[in-house]
Structure formats: C-alpha cells, structure tokens
C-alpha cells in the first residue's frame, strides 16, 4: 500500500529477568496509514508501552527484539528501523517518528529553559538558524494554546502539568514528523486540561497531517480521538478495527470486558462489571488462548488452541474462537441501556 507510513510485521520483544524470558510483545503486526490515529488499549503490563518504545528503538537494556520488522515509509523511501545505525536512528527519531512521554514532569530537563531545549533539539537535527527555530516554536506554542513569549523563556517548574504536556506535544512535532507516538498523554491530568490536550491534538493533526499512535488504558480517549482501535492482551493484538465497529460490535471478549468496565455520564447508571482474574504470567504463558481463564465464553477448545488474529469483518480482526459472542452480548447490553434511558427522568 502506498499511503502506509509505518508497518510492523511479526514483532517479538522479550525482557530477560531472573525467572526467565518475559515475552512482552508477541507476534504484533499492523500498518499505520498516513494521517491515521490508532489507539492501543489494554491493562497495565499488556505490552503496549513496550510496543511503543520498540517503534523508536528506546527499549531498556534488558529488552531485546527477537523477531519481526518495523518499516517506515517517507517520500518513497523505506527505512528499516530495526537495522538503523546510530546516525540513522538519530535522524529517524523526532524527524520521522516522535515520541511524547507519559510523565510530563520528568520528560523536560528541569535546569534548562524551554528555549534551550527547543534550540538544542532543532540544532541536533541540522537546523542552525536560531531565529527560524524560535519562530517555529512560538508558532507551535500558539497552536497548543500557550502564551508563546512566556513559555518560551520559562523553566519547566514555572509551568503547570497541563502546560508542560502541551510543551512536550509542541516539541514533539517541532521537526514535522510523520508519526507521533503518545504514551498515556492525558493520564494524571484534570478533566478540563485533558480536554484542552484533546482539542490541541485534533487541531495539530488536521493542520500537519501526521499519524498518531496513542497508548492508553482510557477507552474514552480512544472513543474521542481514534480512527482505529487496537486491543492488546498479554503482549498480543487480540482485536483491531475501525473505532466505531470495535465499540459497538466488539469481536473479542477482552475488549467487551473493558467496555463493560468503563463508566460514562449519559443515561441510566450502567451496571458495570470488572474482568475477573488477573493477566497471565508472561514468562510461562498458558497454552491456548491467553484470555481463556478469565473469559465468560470460554469452551474446551480455547484452552487447547490459540486462536490466530483473523479478519472477520471489513478491516475488523479478532483473535477469538467465538468472535460472535461478544457482538451479541454488546448488542443486548446496548439495548438494555436504551430501554433504561427512556425510564430515566433527568429532573427527578
């Protein structure tokens, strides 16, 4: 396909630990299209951050990519990310693929003014005209609803958490990357600040046309921003599809479980339920489907055979032997909510 910007094929990542190899990412494949926003959803420890880090080769020392490929496409050129040397990697990171980290408090250097951090970044990537850099930075700060003069000359401690997060986003797109990876961009932020970040991302995405991979455990964020949703469980992609389809016709019981655990503000009080049990040991994963011990639809075959990620609908794939069950359950649930909605009187 011509408009793919990032293509991941059969990626495996392992961590070495005293107890053995932790298989954190197993056989993950996806294509990210230009301008597309893809949400990667899952519980802590499902491998979503490891996946993100391996896209920019920032994995910690204990981790090793044991198989697969990551390819980046720009202007007809193919870059094999996993084979890049240090120099190539330095150019690829930030210019082609930028990462915005989870903790805005720790990601900025506390003893340097924002100005220096902007200038350093641009200089390291071959832009030597300070005026040009300053103009671009200030324009970007305006785009993310910050006061450019004040922020440009400020130290990180002079800014609030939400402002720092916006500085990081502006810094991330400073060099016009094709792909921006956001790791939990709004966790630990207040509702109104979170809304500002969402609006800022939507605006930048429309103006600059970059693709976004964002990692989150918050389904509401995915519902708000994403075009496509990917659910990860125990290091694997268990479901992927267009965001509306995944929300309304989920084909994997784990996605269904997450949807049933997310409280909303509309309609009657949903009966929410949690997913019983805990994620499997990634050192000795069970044979068969990894979700089987926690799955309400599990049958004998699930413990024996691991279901492969299979395309069942238009652009909608699931790794489940009984992919119709979650759809039916979700439909029943939505009907019940609709029926309940008519009963609720808002001015009670």
């Amino acid at each position: 396909m011509t408009d793919t910007v990032l293509s991941v094929k059969n990626l495996f990542v392992e961590y070495s630990s005293p107890r053995g190899k932790v298989k954190a990412v197993r056989d993950v494949s996806f294509d990210l299209k230009a301008g597309e926003t893809m949400a990667v959803i899952g519980e802590s420890g499902c491998g979503k951050t490891t996946l993100a880090l391996s896209l920019v080769r920032l994995l910690p020392k204990a981790a090793r990519v044991t198989g697969g490929s990551v390819q980046f496409f720009r202007d007809g050129k193919i870059t094999d990310v996993l084979a890049l040397n240090m120099q190539g990697l330095r150019a690829y990171r930030w210019q082609d693929c930028a990462m915005v980290f989870q903790s805005a408090l720790n990601a900025l250097n506390p003893v340097l003014k924002i100005r220096s951090q902007v200038q350093d970044t641009a200089r390291a990537h071959g832009e030597h005209d300070p005026r040009k850099i300053e103009d671009r930075a200030k324009w970007l700060f305006e785009q993310v609803l910050l006061d450019p003069e004040r922020v440009y000359n400020a130290y990180p401690h002079e800014l609030s958490g939400g402002m720092r997060q916006r500085v990081l986003i502006a810094l991330g797109v400073l060099l016009n990357p094709q792909v921006v990876i956001l790791d939990e961009p709004t966790t630990a932020l207040d509702v109104l600040t979170q809304r500002t970040i969402i609006d800022v991302l939507k605006r930048l995405r429309a103006d600059m046309g970059f693709a976004i991979v964002f990692i989150s455990h918050d389904l509401s964020m995915a519902a708000e921003l994403a075009h496509r949703m990917v659910t990860m469980y125990a290091g694997q992609i268990v479901e992927t599809g267009p965001v509306n389809t995944v929300f309304y016709e989920p084909m994997h019981p784990y996605t269904l479980g997450l949807l049933k655990a997310a409280p909303g503000l509309t309609g009657p009080r949903d009966e929410l339920s949690s997913i019983p049990g805990s994620p499997p040991d990634l050192i000795r994963p069970p044979t068969g489907c990894k979700f089987e011990p926690r799955c309400p639809f599990a049958q004998a075959i699930c413990a024996e055979q691991e279901p492969p990620l299979t395309l069942y609908g238009a652009d909608h794939a699931s790794a489940c032997h009984f992919h119709n069950e979650p759809i039916i359950a979700r439909q029943a649930y939505r009907d019940a909510v609709k029926a309940g909605l008519q009963k609720v009187e808002p001015n009670s």
Partner: protein, 341 residues
Amino acid sequence: MNAQPILEMQHVNKVFKARRSTVQVLFDVSLSVAPNKTLCVVGESGCGKTTTGKILAGLAKPTDGTILFEGRDVSKFTGDDFTTYRKAVQIVHQDPYASLNPVHTLYRTLSFPLFRHKLVRNRDEARTRVLELLKIVDLSPAADFIDKFPHQLSGGQRQRVSIARALTVNPRVIVADEAVSMVDVSIRISLLNTLTELQKHLGVTFVFITHDLAVARYFAWEGEIAVMYLGRVIEQGPAPTVTTSPQHPYTRTLISSLPEPDPEITRGKERLELRSHDIPSLSHIPSGCAFHPRCPAQFYVPGVCDRHSPELASTEVSSVAACHVAAMTSKHDEAIREKAV
C-alpha cells in the same frame, strides 16, 4: 435530609501559612453526610478536596468552623470521645505504593490497630480477624496473602489492603481520597463494587473524593455529589441530578468536556468553551465569583459575576448551586410559573 448527619462540616475555612504569604484553600465549606450514605467530593487538583477529606477525618484542623460527629463538636472531644471519633472515621489514601509500610507483612499491618485498640486478646484471635478482613476485601485465598509483603502485590491488591486496614477498627465512616485513581479501569470497577458491598453489609458511610465525575456518578448514584472549585462548594445535589442536569456553568463545562466511552456520544456532545484555559492560582483568587474569568461566554454577566460572590442557592432541580445566573434562571422560572397559576 431527614436523618441526622453522621459527619458534618459547618462554615469551614482553612488557611495555610507559608513563610511570608498565606494561602486560603477552603472558603466557608459546609458539607454533611447521612449515615450509610455516600458523599462524593469532585473537583480538579487544587480545589481543596483533599484538605476537605483530611479535615473530615480529623487529620487536619480547620482555621474556622466546626466539625460535627453525630451532632457533637469534634474540637471539644477529650479522652474516650476522641478515641471513639478517631476510630469511627478512617481514611484510605490515594497511593497504595506509599501508604503501606514496605517492611511489614499484611498480618503486621492489619493486626497492629487490632492490638492497639484492644480489639483482640491474642495472636490467634488477631490472625483469625485479619483473615476475615482479607476475605471481606476479596483478597482470597486469604491464607495465601496474610504473610505477604506489599511489594508482592499489584496496585489494586494493595489498595484492597488499605481498605482492609481502614476496616480493622470497625469504622462508621471511610474517607477515600482518590482511592481508585491509580489503578486500571477494570480493577477500578471491582474496587468500587467491593466498596458498595461494604456499604450494604457493614453499613459504612463513604466520603469519596475523586476528580473523575464518571466514577463519582457510578459510585454515588444513590448519594450526593458536591462539586468544588477553588476552595468552595459550587454545586451539590443527588448524583443523578448533578450529572444529568448540572446547573453551575463549571459543572456544565466539566460534563461537556469529559470524553465518554462511546464514540458517537462523545463526538456528538454539545461543547462549552471556557474563556480561559488557565486555572487561577490560589494566592490570587479572582474577585466576585471565582469562576468568572473562565466562565463560558453564554453564562458570564460582566458587572455582576466579577463583583459579587454568589451564595449556594436552590435551583430549578433538586440541587443547590453557587451561581448568579443559575439563581436568576431559577427565579425567572418561578415567576413564570406563578403567573401561569
């Protein structure tokens, strides 16, 4: 509310003194919670919700105002009365990684208050009681957990231990400060469901402090929500009313801003735009209504909102709100209704 509140704060102000300056974090806050009910305190960081929780639990003293426990002034308590109050009101902290002693086993953490308050006579009794407590908070099989250290547990499990610790002294009220915000979505719901069960079976009253309106609405469905902004309660009422018919522009903006786990609903939401994105600093609280510099344009009335501080007043629904505009609309409607009659 008919029943006498079990815990109440009346006209509480709280001022923190720094070296040179003073910062007032609570302004005339009055809240109450009836026995076996839930009160959710919702607000952004810095709105004073944690301080409110600490004052209710007796961990901080108000600068002015009174705290009443079962109708009696807490500051006058001495001896046994004070012990009873401290035992009856327990707190669960936000961060389960920081609030448990890492070198103590769960048995030690949970048995200490039992011995301290002479609720058990010997180790056998203590062990039995600790096992019971672990079972109540769904840490089963309890025998596998009792001799573990906190580092062997996940965040959600640790938070369950914190809840069990609060339960050791048979409290009447639990103040939970962001007790579920550090854990994953699916675990969050199971913790909330555990707390709901506790309320049903043990009759515990909850003061639940959170920044997440959706969580507040889920947990306090049969109770009340109080929304705080810059040290004041600006809206309070039954949870369904506050979340479906918010009256204060701040609550309206919060609800219109909150993403929801449904693409069609969240993208189709009617949006209110704040006039300013920055939260004023507590050391420079705006004149008049503290929300006026940010209040959406369709509500803000220059000359009124920036001069006079609004009082909490009844609205056209079953909540109270501190907003000139909501009050006017409400009276306006009353006038129309009177005319119609």
